[in-house]
């Protein structure tokens, strides 16, 4: 177990760097998960948008009705009406949508003229599309009442319009016991934690392997009366322990953050999925460690691999938003199947074999990747040993 003890000593002397990666990125994962739970703007429980309404027209019933409709489901903010204040507010996102009612709007609207409100919004945002739809529905509905009921007072029209726009479809979740927001947060955390896991494991394993594979150290080991197989198995044991410890830290952090919510079938499946990707990371790191010798290159490879694979696999940008070509390329990475597995887990309502098939399929592919990477590592090691003999 001499090589194993040497492995542990190397880890100990590099513990600062490896633990820094793990801790910092776990903290970021927890932070982004807690922030993300309050910032999801795709939720069909519509999120409140921060809007400002500037009224340059009279306080007509038409305009008051608009303000009432917008205020009901959004946060009305007052950030000033001058250009610089609006610019600043949009820059710092203290407002997301600014709508200005121009002068004489009510008069022109009733006269049937082609009038527009002015809007300023964050480009390409969901909140912008949602607000556009709400405002247009309001005025279109008002116009319908006005054009078809000539004698109706504005107050009654306003009442009718607000009542109409308040009509919502009764929507039920297929499984009402399923708390989708907690599941989505768990999904987000485990995806982010995979990045921390990937970066730390690859870095830690590559550092140790590069030290043990240094020519002189390797030659001294080969001279010793210890079989090369034993040396290899010591190194693999060290890799397993390092990976498992990092996996445990990531899981425990998740348990502390989510508490009882993680002890459901969903949480346990995600923990199992994380274990599977840990195996893949470990073997991936071993392959990289066998190929890369330079200490300077280690940080480069670990950062590039972890960030690159996580980016294209849907860790930072949801998979549903990625293009088909990106998803095709990413499907050659085990991280893609890990993220897909987590996405499939949260969709399940009834846990039966049929519904678990997509999840088990992802697990199987990840294990397949792990086996392939192990085989590649063994082949590379064998080739190197043969070259050393020659």
């Amino acid at each position: 177990m001499t090589v194993f003890k040497a492995y542990m000593k190397i880890i100990k002397s590099n513990i600062t760097l490896v633990s820094l990666y793990t801790v910092i990125f776990l903290i970021i994962a927890v932070m982004m998960t807690s922030f993300n739970s309050s910032n999801r703007n795709m939720n069909f429980k519509e999120e409140k948008v921060k809007i400002q309404i500037i009224n340059n027209d009279t306080d007509s019933t038409l305009v008051q009705g608009l303000i009432d409709v917008l205020a009901e489901k959004n946060d009305i903010v007052d950030i000033g009406e001058d250009k610089e204040s609006i610019q600043d507010a949009l820059f710092f996102r203290t407002v997301e949508y600014v709508v200005t009612v121009p002068e004489n709007f009510t008069k022109d609207f009733y006269a049937g003229k082609d009038v527009d409100l002015e809007k300023i919004q964050i480009d390409q945002s969901f909140s912008g599309y949602y607000m556009d739809s709400l405002i247009n529905k309001y005025f279109n509905t008002w116009k319908i009442y006005k054009d078809n009921n000539i004698n109706l007072s504005d107050e009654i029209i306003k009442e009718k319009v607000i009542s109409d726009l308040g009509k919502e479809t009764k929507t039920t979740l297929f499984d009402e016991n399923k708390d989708t927001s907690i599941l989505e947060n768990m999904n987000y955390y485990f995806n982010m934690a995979a990045y921390a896991l990937l970066g730390s494991i690859i870095l830690g394993i590559m550092i140790c392997m590069s030290e043990l594979n240094k020519d002189k150290i390797k030659q001294r080991n080969l001279c010793s009366p210890v079989k090369p197989k034993t040396i290899s198995s010591n190194i693999i044991l060290g890799n397993c322990i390092l990976s498992f410890v990092i996996y445990l830290i990531t899981t425990v952090a998740g348990i502390i953050f989510f508490k009882d919510d993680i002890f459901t079938i969903y949480g346990l499946l995600m923990i199992l999925n994380l274990f599977t990707i840990t195996l893949c990371c470990m073997f991936m790191a071993m392959v990289a460690g066998a190929l890369v010798k330079s200490r300077a290159a280690i940080t480069a490879v670990s950062t590039t691999l972890s960030m690159g694979l996580c980016f294209i696999s849907g860790v930072f940008i949801p998979q549903s938003f990625l293009g088909d070509s990106v998803k095709y390329i990413a499907s050659f990475s085990p991280v893609y199947w890990f993220v897909k597995g987590n996405n499939d887990i949260i969709k399940i309502s009834n846990f039966n074999l049929d519904n678990l098939k997509p999840v088990l399929y992802s697990f199987a592919i990840e294990l397949g990747f792990a086996i392939c990477l192990l085989v590649i590592y063994l082949v590379i090691s064998k080739q190197k040993a043969k070259r050393a003999e020659n």
């Binding site: 600062t16 760097l17 820094l20 990666y21 970021i28 982004m32 922030f35 993300n36 795709m42 939720n43 069909f44 610089e84 610019q87 820059f91 996102r93 203290t94 200005t100 527009d116 409100l117 809007k119 964050i122 480009d123 390409q124 945002s125 556009d132 739809s133 247009n136 005025f139 509905t141 116009k143 319908i144 009442y145 078809n148 009921n149 009542s163 109409d164 009509k167 479809t169 009764k170 039920t172 979740l173 499984d175 989708t180 927001s181 989505e184 870095l203 290159a297 940080t299 480069a300 950062t303 590039t304 690159g308 294209i312 930072f316 940008i317 549903s320 938003f321 293009g323 990106v326 009834n350």
Partner: protein, 383 residues
């Protein structure tokens, strides 16, 4: 002597593979990844039709309220603007399809419209929005008919149902609209500027006699340490700026990211960012008494953290930090560089830009003072 040291340092830095990787290859890889993932999600891609089902019960089959016709219209294959793919199935099959994720929701028409979904994502929101729109417009039509005491011209219903004017005009408060995608690239540029810290760290290693044999030899030379530091730093800065310019041109001309029209100020931001990064590296290296590789590792880790907090992985994080922990936004140099570039892109005036540049200048001065304070008057016993 100054020029000799300058040229030698230039050659050393240019031949250092780590410098080329961290300051050119890695950012180009990341920029390309951003372009593939972030930019493509916001371009106009063909919207995929959402799979839905409706339960084929008596209420649906005999529906005369127009809901059946509405559903068929928004899912018709002949309709180019159709956004749904509709299946008409029985209740058990609908539940099974939903469980298997073959549909995103199913509709049950029993008295009122009811929707059942299995999640709360974009597709589910879209289905609900359409059904809400139908309910709201139907309510309006019913009210209009009843308010007209039954003397309503039925032929007008079609016109009412399709009333959909756009009452909004987009106004630009600045030349460039607030845009989420550019934040990723600006944060990447900020990160690259700060990666000059790796070279800054190496500067200290080649000057401090206790850190490397080269530094011990250089320490023997009758040359002022400050001049030595300045000549080496200028050579490193020149290389960093050259690599940053290549990255900048790649992002602007190959990936097509807009930086606004202020090229000189963009360059100024990059130069100042690189100087801040270099001095950050010298500061870290002079304080920490660990191996060179460990210092590089820590610098990279810290830079990645700063980048994440500046919105490089998720632009929403930047604004959440600003709202909840604004002090971090103020002391994060990558965030300052990102904000400086974004304010050049977005604002007509330079107030915000000057604030961020001032922040970077203050940081550079602080790092420089710490570096000099640690390095000055250090001598080694001759033994």
């Amino acid at each position: 002597m100054f020029s000799h040291l300058f040229v030698n340092r230039l050659k050393i830095v240019l031949r250092t593979k780590e410098v080329l990787f961290w300051n050119l290859c890695f950012p180009i890889i990341l920029a390309s990844l951003f372009s593939m993932t972030v930019v493509n999600t916001t371009q106009n891609e063909e919207l995929k039709k959402v799979d839905i089902a409706v339960i084929s019960n008596l209420a649906y089959e005999k529906d005369e309220s127009g809901f059946k016709a509405f559903l068929q219209e928004v899912s018709s294959e002949d309709n180019e603007e159709a956004i749904f793919k509709l299946k008409v199935v029985d209740e058990n099959e609908a539940k099974s399809l939903l469980e298997d994720d073959e549909i995103k929701g199913y509709i049950n028409l029993k008295g009122d419209i009811e929707l059942t979904v299995n999640g709360s994502g974009y597709e589910e929101t879209l289905i609900k929005s359409f059904l809400d729109y139908y309910k709201q417009r139907s309510s309006t039509i019913s009210n209009v008919i009843s308010l007209n005491s039954g003397q309503f011209d039925i032929t007008k219903i079609q016109d009412i149902a399709s009333e959909a004017k756009d009452y909004l005009k987009n106004i630009k408060v600045s030349d460039a609209a607030p845009n989420v995608t550019v934040i990723y690239f600006y944060a990447l540029l900020g990160m690259t500027c700060m990666y000059s810290a790796t070279v800054g760290s190496e500067e200290i290693v080649t000057i401090q006699a206790n850190l490397s044999p080269e530094a011990s030899r250089i320490g023997l030379a009758p040359f002022n340490k400050l001049k030595l530091f300045v000549s080496s730093a200028m050579a490193s800065l020149l290389v960093q700026l050259g690599l940053l310019m290549i990255l900048l041109m790649y992002i602007k001309f190959v990936l097509g990211i807009d930086f606004g029209g202020n090229a000189p100020f963009v360059l100024l931001t990059c130069i100042l960012g690189t100087v801040t990064g270099l001095l950050f590296g010298t500061c870290i290296s002079s304080i920490l008494k660990i191996s060179s590789n460990a210092k590089i590792g820590i610098i990279i880790c810290v830079n990645m953290t700063f980048s994440v907090l500046a919105g490089m992985m998720n632009s929403g994080v930047k604004y959440l930090i600003q709202e909840n922990v604004p002090i971090i936004a103020k002391i994060n140099p990558i965030n300052l560089i990102t904000d400086a570039l974004y304010s050049l892109y977005y604002y007509d005036t330079y107030n915000r830009f000057i604030e961020n540049i001032a922040g970077l200048c203050i940081m550079s001065v602080i790092f420089l003072i710490i570096t000099i304070a640690v390095l000055r008057r250090q001598q080694y016993d001759s033994i």
